[in-house]
Protein backbone atom coordinates (compact mmCIF):
# COMPACT_ATOMS: atom_id res chain seq x y z
CA UNK A 1 0.00 0.00 0.00
CA UNK A 2 1.34 3.40 -0.90
CA UNK A 3 0.39 6.66 0.73
CA UNK A 4 0.51 10.21 -0.55
CA UNK A 5 0.50 11.91 2.84
CA UNK A 6 3.52 13.94 3.99
CA UNK A 7 6.27 11.60 5.18
CA UNK A 8 9.37 13.32 6.49
CA UNK A 9 12.33 10.97 7.03
CA UNK A 10 15.92 11.90 7.82
CA UNK A 11 19.08 10.27 9.12
CA UNK A 12 21.07 12.50 11.46
CA UNK A 13 24.84 12.11 11.59
CA UNK A 14 25.05 14.58 14.46
CA UNK A 15 23.13 14.91 17.72
CA UNK A 16 19.57 16.10 17.15
CA UNK A 17 17.01 17.58 19.52
CA UNK A 18 13.64 15.80 19.18
CA UNK A 19 11.62 18.81 20.36
CA UNK A 20 13.40 21.08 17.88
CA UNK A 21 12.61 18.63 15.06
CA UNK A 22 8.96 18.59 16.14
CA UNK A 23 8.93 22.37 16.28
CA UNK A 24 9.80 22.41 12.58
CA UNK A 25 7.12 19.85 11.73
CA UNK A 26 3.78 21.66 11.27
CA UNK A 27 1.48 18.63 11.36
CA UNK A 28 1.29 18.20 15.14
CA UNK A 29 -0.30 21.64 15.25
CA UNK A 30 -2.97 21.07 12.63
CA UNK A 31 -4.27 17.59 13.47
CA UNK A 32 -6.46 16.53 16.38
CA UNK A 33 -4.17 13.72 17.54
CA UNK A 34 -0.40 13.25 17.52
CA UNK A 35 1.48 10.29 18.96
CA UNK A 36 5.21 10.69 19.51
CA UNK A 37 8.03 8.42 20.60
CA UNK A 38 11.52 9.53 21.62
CA UNK A 39 14.22 6.89 22.13
CA UNK A 40 17.58 7.73 23.70
CA UNK A 41 20.80 5.83 24.23
CA UNK A 42 21.09 4.02 27.56
CA UNK A 43 24.20 4.63 29.60
CA UNK A 44 24.45 0.93 30.38
CA UNK A 45 25.20 -1.71 27.77
CA UNK A 46 23.53 -5.06 27.23
CA UNK A 47 25.72 -6.60 29.97
CA UNK A 48 25.02 -3.72 32.37
CA UNK A 49 28.51 -2.21 31.90
CA UNK A 50 28.86 1.59 31.65
CA UNK A 51 29.13 2.67 28.03
CA UNK A 52 31.38 5.33 26.58
CA UNK A 53 29.51 5.53 23.28
CA UNK A 54 27.73 3.58 20.58
CA UNK A 55 28.46 3.40 16.87
CA UNK A 56 25.37 3.22 14.64
CA UNK A 57 26.05 1.72 11.23
CA UNK A 58 23.50 1.73 8.40
CA UNK A 59 23.20 0.82 4.72
CA UNK A 60 23.32 4.15 2.87
CA UNK A 61 20.51 4.33 0.35
CA UNK A 62 18.65 1.23 1.48
CA UNK A 63 18.10 2.51 5.03
CA UNK A 64 16.52 5.78 3.87
CA UNK A 65 14.35 4.01 1.30
CA UNK A 66 13.31 1.37 3.78
CA UNK A 67 12.30 3.98 6.38
CA UNK A 68 10.23 5.78 3.74
CA UNK A 69 8.64 2.50 2.72
CA UNK A 70 7.84 1.40 6.31
CA UNK A 71 6.36 4.82 7.10
CA UNK A 72 4.25 4.83 3.96
CA UNK A 73 2.92 1.32 4.67
CA UNK A 74 2.12 2.11 8.30
CA UNK A 75 0.45 5.41 7.34
CA UNK A 76 -1.76 3.71 4.78
CA UNK A 77 -2.75 0.80 6.99
CA UNK A 78 -3.64 3.03 9.97
CA UNK A 79 -5.15 5.88 7.94
CA UNK A 80 -3.06 8.69 9.40
CA UNK A 81 -2.23 12.14 8.00
CA UNK A 82 1.49 12.77 8.49
CA UNK A 83 4.59 10.90 9.66
CA UNK A 84 7.96 12.12 10.87
CA UNK A 85 11.03 9.92 11.45
CA UNK A 86 14.47 10.99 12.65
CA UNK A 87 17.12 8.32 13.25
CA UNK A 88 20.62 8.86 14.45
CA UNK A 89 23.68 7.36 12.71
CA UNK A 90 27.39 7.48 13.57
CA UNK A 91 28.90 7.87 17.03
CA UNK A 92 26.31 8.41 19.75
CA UNK A 93 26.91 9.12 23.44
CA UNK A 94 24.66 8.20 26.40
CA UNK A 95 21.35 10.09 26.64
CA UNK A 96 21.56 11.40 23.08
CA UNK A 97 18.43 10.85 21.01
CA UNK A 98 18.52 7.76 18.77
CA UNK A 99 15.08 7.80 17.24
CA UNK A 100 12.06 10.07 16.97
CA UNK A 101 8.75 8.89 15.50
CA UNK A 102 5.73 11.21 15.28
CA UNK A 103 2.36 10.42 13.73
CA UNK A 104 -0.53 12.85 13.29
CA UNK A 105 -4.07 11.73 12.62
CA UNK A 106 -7.66 12.77 13.06
CA UNK A 107 -8.18 10.40 15.99
CA UNK A 108 -6.06 9.25 18.92
CA UNK A 109 -6.31 5.50 18.18
CA UNK A 110 -4.72 5.59 14.70
CA UNK A 111 -2.08 8.13 15.80
CA UNK A 112 -0.97 6.01 18.76
CA UNK A 113 -1.22 2.62 17.07
CA UNK A 114 0.61 3.79 13.95
CA UNK A 115 3.40 5.34 16.03
CA UNK A 116 3.83 2.12 17.98
CA UNK A 117 3.69 -0.16 14.91
CA UNK A 118 6.09 2.02 12.95
CA UNK A 119 8.61 2.02 15.78
CA UNK A 120 8.54 -1.80 15.85
CA UNK A 121 8.88 -1.92 12.06
CA UNK A 122 11.93 0.37 12.23
CA UNK A 123 13.50 -1.77 14.93
CA UNK A 124 13.03 -4.97 12.97
CA UNK A 125 13.10 -4.00 9.30
CA UNK A 126 15.32 -0.96 8.84
CA UNK A 127 19.01 -1.80 8.35
CA UNK A 128 20.78 -0.30 11.37
CA UNK A 129 23.42 -1.97 13.51
CA UNK A 130 24.52 -0.85 16.96
CA UNK A 131 28.00 -1.40 18.28
CA UNK A 132 28.47 -0.73 21.99
CA UNK A 133 31.76 0.85 23.07
CA UNK A 134 32.47 0.30 26.76
CA UNK A 135 34.52 2.67 28.91
CA UNK A 136 37.43 0.22 28.72
CA UNK A 137 37.31 0.50 24.93
CA UNK A 138 35.77 -2.90 24.26
CA UNK A 139 33.44 -3.01 21.25
CA UNK A 140 30.50 -5.32 20.85
CA UNK A 141 27.90 -5.61 18.09
CA UNK A 142 24.33 -5.84 19.36
CA UNK A 143 22.25 -8.46 17.61
CA UNK A 144 18.52 -7.86 17.78
CA UNK A 145 16.54 -5.43 19.94
CA UNK A 146 15.82 -4.86 23.59
CA UNK A 147 12.53 -6.46 24.67
CA UNK A 148 9.38 -4.49 24.03
Amino acid sequence: MASSIPIDVALCSNAFEPLAELQQWPHHQSNAATGIFIGRMRSQGSSAEELEAMQLEHYPGMTERQLQHLASDAAASHGVRAVLIRHRIGRVTPNQALVLVAVSADRRGPAQRCCQALLEAIKHDAPFWKQEISRSGERRWIEGNTPL
Binding site: G39, L56, E57, H58, Y59, G61, M62, R65, Q66, H87, L98, V99, L119, I122, K123, H124, D125, A126, P127, F128, W129, K130, Q131, W141, I142, E143, G144, N145
Partner: protein
Protein backbone atom coordinates in the same frame (compact mmCIF):
# COMPACT_ATOMS: atom_id res chain seq x y z
CA UNK B 1 32.61 -24.66 -11.57
CA UNK B 2 29.89 -23.12 -13.68
CA UNK B 3 30.71 -20.63 -16.40
CA UNK B 4 30.98 -16.99 -15.37
CA UNK B 5 28.39 -14.67 -16.90
CA UNK B 6 29.31 -11.22 -15.64
CA UNK B 7 29.64 -10.00 -12.07
CA UNK B 8 27.77 -8.76 -9.05
CA UNK B 9 28.75 -6.52 -6.13
CA UNK B 10 28.73 -8.10 -2.68
CA UNK B 11 28.37 -5.88 0.40
CA UNK B 12 28.83 -6.76 4.05
CA UNK B 13 27.82 -4.85 7.16
CA UNK B 14 28.55 -4.65 10.88
CA UNK B 15 29.93 -7.81 12.53
CA UNK B 16 30.02 -9.65 9.22
CA UNK B 17 32.07 -6.90 7.59
CA UNK B 18 34.53 -6.95 10.48
CA UNK B 19 34.84 -10.74 10.46
CA UNK B 20 35.44 -10.85 6.71
CA UNK B 21 37.79 -7.86 6.71
CA UNK B 22 36.14 -6.19 3.72
CA UNK B 23 32.93 -4.28 3.06
CA UNK B 24 32.43 -4.47 -0.68
CA UNK B 25 33.81 -6.50 -3.57
CA UNK B 26 33.03 -7.52 -7.10
CA UNK B 27 32.25 -11.20 -7.48
CA UNK B 28 31.91 -13.33 -10.64
CA UNK B 29 28.33 -14.32 -11.39
CA UNK B 30 27.89 -17.99 -12.25
CA UNK B 31 24.65 -19.03 -13.90
CA UNK B 32 21.94 -19.98 -11.44
CA UNK B 33 23.75 -18.31 -8.54
CA UNK B 34 21.75 -17.08 -5.56
CA UNK B 35 22.66 -15.47 -2.23
CA UNK B 36 23.15 -18.87 -0.58
CA UNK B 37 25.57 -20.11 -3.26
CA UNK B 38 27.56 -16.84 -3.08
CA UNK B 39 27.66 -17.12 0.74
CA UNK B 40 29.12 -20.61 0.39
CA UNK B 41 31.53 -19.65 -2.41
CA UNK B 42 32.84 -16.79 -0.25
CA UNK B 43 33.77 -19.42 2.35
CA UNK B 44 31.37 -18.07 4.98
CA UNK B 45 29.90 -21.49 5.75
CA UNK B 46 27.28 -23.95 4.55
CA UNK B 47 24.18 -22.05 5.70
CA UNK B 48 23.28 -18.41 6.14
CA UNK B 49 22.81 -17.96 9.92
CA UNK B 50 19.36 -17.34 11.36
CA UNK B 51 18.64 -13.64 11.55
CA UNK B 52 21.03 -12.72 8.73
CA UNK B 53 19.00 -11.22 5.89
CA UNK B 54 19.58 -10.78 2.19
CA UNK B 55 19.11 -7.59 0.20
CA UNK B 56 19.37 -7.48 -3.58
CA UNK B 57 19.60 -3.99 -5.03
CA UNK B 58 18.70 -2.64 -1.61
CA UNK B 59 15.44 -4.58 -1.24
CA UNK B 60 14.96 -7.56 1.09
CA UNK B 61 14.90 -10.81 -0.89
CA UNK B 62 14.87 -14.52 -0.33
CA UNK B 63 18.32 -16.21 -0.23
CA UNK B 64 17.13 -18.39 -3.15
CA UNK B 65 16.31 -15.43 -5.41
CA UNK B 66 18.37 -15.87 -8.59
CA UNK B 67 21.01 -13.17 -9.11
CA UNK B 68 21.38 -11.07 -12.25
CA UNK B 69 24.37 -9.39 -13.85
CA UNK B 70 25.16 -6.13 -12.04
CA UNK B 71 23.11 -6.91 -8.90
CA UNK B 72 24.17 -5.49 -5.56
CA UNK B 73 23.92 -8.38 -3.08
CA UNK B 74 24.13 -7.51 0.63
CA UNK B 75 24.34 -9.82 3.64
CA UNK B 76 22.74 -8.09 6.63
CA UNK B 77 23.48 -9.44 10.11
CA UNK B 78 20.67 -9.16 12.69
CA UNK B 79 19.31 -5.61 12.74
CA UNK B 80 19.43 -3.53 15.94
CA UNK B 81 18.04 -0.11 15.12
CA UNK B 82 15.61 2.22 16.80
Amino acid sequence: MQQSSGSITVRLFAALREQAGWDQRSWPLTSGADALSVWQALGFGDAIPDGTRIAINQEFESPRQQLQQGDELAFLPPISGG
